[in-house]
Amino acid sequence: MRNDATWEVLSDLDLARAAVDDLGAFGELIRRHQDFVFGAVLRVVKNRTQAEDLTQEAFMRAFRALDGFRGDAAVRSWLYRIATNLAMNSVTRRREYPSDTMPERPAADRGPARSFEAEELRAHLREAIAELPDELRVPLVLREYDELSYQEIADTTGLPLNTVRTRILRARRALRDKMEAWR
């Protein structure tokens, strides 16, 4: 791993490319743009603590999508889109479910046996997702785990919208096959 001083001289694009294999490069990218990303998020959510959490989440998402980043847009523009999409989704969710009103699952769903089955299922699902090739796993995780829209995934990964749809469809089919084989 190179040291921080070496990373400082690299362009954003070179850092983004290096970050795929070296977290030191991604750390430098964060240091370089964290104020900007934080400002962009704070503008939308208007709460410093929440903005800090969302800024961290935005960088996590950026890292997950690094494989798909081709450098067509500037790194800062790419981060800006990820961060503002995340912030806007967060504001929308808060409007839909203000604190203390998040819907809970019915009690019948939470018995010990159900809970064990659900945990086992989740574990198998995690394994099945981990086994997917990156080109399918990244869009699927952004969709199912990060709850991004297809358009947001296209913006984040730099893939055409139709490719995003196709890959998510293929990923779901692959997952369904794996889970059926497990059952």
Partner: protein, 91 residues
Amino acid sequence: MSRACAIQDDQLRAFAAGVDESVIDEHVATCDECQEFLARLWDGALDTDLAEPVVKAIRLELFLLDVAKLFADVLGDMGRAGKVYLGGAEE
């Protein structure tokens, strides 16, 4: 400051303060010059370094993915070994 896009500093300051919500959001997303202005405006806005906690969280995520993959490989090997063993026992 004059920019090729003709967006004024005051507009960007209002945007940064959350007053001008929608008019220039799409524009800012792709305009390097406007982003440069905002980057200078927001410089120092965050009073903590997020690089370390984010990199730690990513390391943990990568580790968990590796463990899940390893676990899946081991299960696969056990399944294959079981088939070979049972096949041999039947003969």
